[in-house]
Symmetry: C2
Subunit: 333 residues, 2 copies
């Protein structure tokens, strides 16, 4: 009889995530009760936010408990159902955790239309990263036509969508990415107006050259020196949508904040943190927009699909914090 | 014949302001031309922003040039007029500079009604600091009844008004100030709901005790460790009106920003810088509100009036950056 492989949080990581922070076990198969269904996991989404979920302390969502299945968004196939709205063969997306099989009662589950886009895209451009890009750009930073939008981690799951939407909205889309290959990709493949390679050693000057009229909007996922450099080039009344601070997620002590705080004052900037879950009532609006752009060929998604199953999960997760992925990182089960 | 004593910027300060950064000279009396009037300066306003005006570099207003009369808001008496709207004896307020006499064509000048409040109040609660408090609190941080509002530099020119307005709006007004005397003043005299003495050595714990329901709004004028401590106690969807960063104005190198940046993300905070001049079209609304509250005894102003004339200006200015003033600092001429 089939068993269920499960990745559980074994301890709270100190610094970078290690294999020993997780316990991988083979457990009894889960059986759906009345009003439930079983999902066979096809792909697990690897997201920067996972590192935060592993920490103790007050945040927007409770931490994963020690011994609990590691929290993850997955896409999978319904293969046994006692729920009236879900049938065998349905493709579903939700917070079903790092396990080969999961039980759901439908709460927080959405169905994925794989005739529109393949399964990994429902964890990327048509999933949480796409929604994050949409809400952070459109609702939080409110770009106007002709403005310059700078996005960090620009070839990543969220950044790649932000830049493309900014371009579609008539903005100058400038991406910051690591290395010439990612920079080439966002300009040549995705249509960003310019790319800046933060590894090239001249971030301030290269950013200045890419943004001759200054920066009106910063969609920020990195923090640290990158954010600090962007801050120094913001225009009056600029907006910063704070989506992530990945440069510090593995820090063992809180790193100092940006030196250019004074720009927030002198330039009257608005910096606003946001979490995609706060926009849940607007998901349909965003998903319609993203789907239509994708269908019309105006929006592309790049996923970085890794193999190795759940055993590879701990190592794959680490890629996110070193720029080792290229596009939305997902793990095939 | 009467001469005009003038304080000019002699050089750009390095760190704290020194007497040698200014040149004090006795110059020829100024005579108004057609459409102009001469103002005899009665009080000079000493404002934290002055330190920024002395620096080179991009900001919300051009720096004071070397050799130029030091920029300052003053209140004074019209004593010679060739302008149809200003008569001898009128009391006027404006950016007339650190000098005993100034010439104006009326641009940016407002008349002060000294039957309502004495002259120093028109540089304080009914002047730029009062307007700053009003717009930063009402327009930028938008407090709702029952929320907790924390204001730093709480006995200062702006902070004292912020806390009183917050209290009037049904918020819990908590002030951070230096020393027991200032703390007693804001609670006993001004009606703040609580005070926290940042010099007492237990800012985090004392702030926590003063804000049992967390912090919804931070009206921030200080920055540094004080702001960092407040950030760590902000509630979800809190707002930070960034009015000043006085703790770093004399820094010779940019100090690091707050370590608790992650709170902006996790708590979805909105931090917004603002400058009172951006609200010029709404000055009448604010001034009406402030005047009415003052007339009705709902709002008090504390000024710290210093003597010594313009010769004392350089030393008096320094008081602002060490907490040496107690209330709105003005210099009597």
């Amino acid at each position: 009889m089939t068993k269920n492989k499960v990745v559980r949080l074994a301890r709270r990581p100190h610094g970078a995530v290690k294999r020993e922070d997780f316990a991988i076990s083979v457990e009894e198969m889960l059986e759906p009760g009345d009003g439930e269904f079983r999902v066979k996991t096809e792909y697990v989404s690897l997201d920067p936010a996972m590192r935060g979920w592993m920490n103790e302390g007050k945040s927007y969502i409770p931490p994963v408990a020690i011994g609990e299945v590691m929290r993850a968004i997955t896409v999978g196939t319904v293969e046994a159902s006692r729920h009236p709205n879900y049938a065998e063969g349905d493709i579903v997306v939700g917070l079903l955790g790092t396990q080969e099989y999961a039980i759901s009662n439908g709460a927080g589950i959405t169905k994925a239309d794989i005739t529109l886009a393949p399964m990994p895209s429902w964890l990327g451009g048509l999933g949480m990263p796409g929604l994050t890009a949409y809400f952070g750009l459109i609702k939080i930073s409110q770009p106007r036509e002709g403005e310059t939008v700078v996005v960090s981690a620009a070839s990543g799951a969220v950044g790649q969508i932000v830049g493309q939407i900014a371009h579609l909205k008539g903005c100058r889309a400038v991406g910051i990415a690591g290395g010439p290959e990612k920079c080439r990709f966002i300009t040549q493949e995705l249509g960003f107006d310019a790319a800046v390679d933060y590894k090239a050693g001249n971030l301030y000057g290269d950013l200045k050259a890419a943004c001759p009229n200054g920066i009106d909007v910063n969609f920020e996922s990195v923090g640290g020196d990158i954010m600090d450099t962007v801050l120094a080039q913001m225009n009056p009344f600029g907006r910063i949508a704070l989506c992530g601070l990945i440069s510090s997620y593995n820090a063992t002590e809180l790193p100092p904040g940006p030196k250019n705080m004074r720009a927030i004052l002198a330039m009257r900037l608005r910096m606003q943190g946001f979490i995609v879950f706060d926009f849940i009532k607007d998901y349909p609006e965003a998903l319609t927009a993203l789907s239509n752009w994708y269908r019309d060929g105006k929006l592309q998604f790049r996923e970085d699909v890794r193999t190795g199953g759940l055993d590879a999960f701990p190592d794959m997760l680490g890629l996110l914090y070193t720029g080792g992925n290229f596009g939305k990182l997902v793990l095939k089960i």
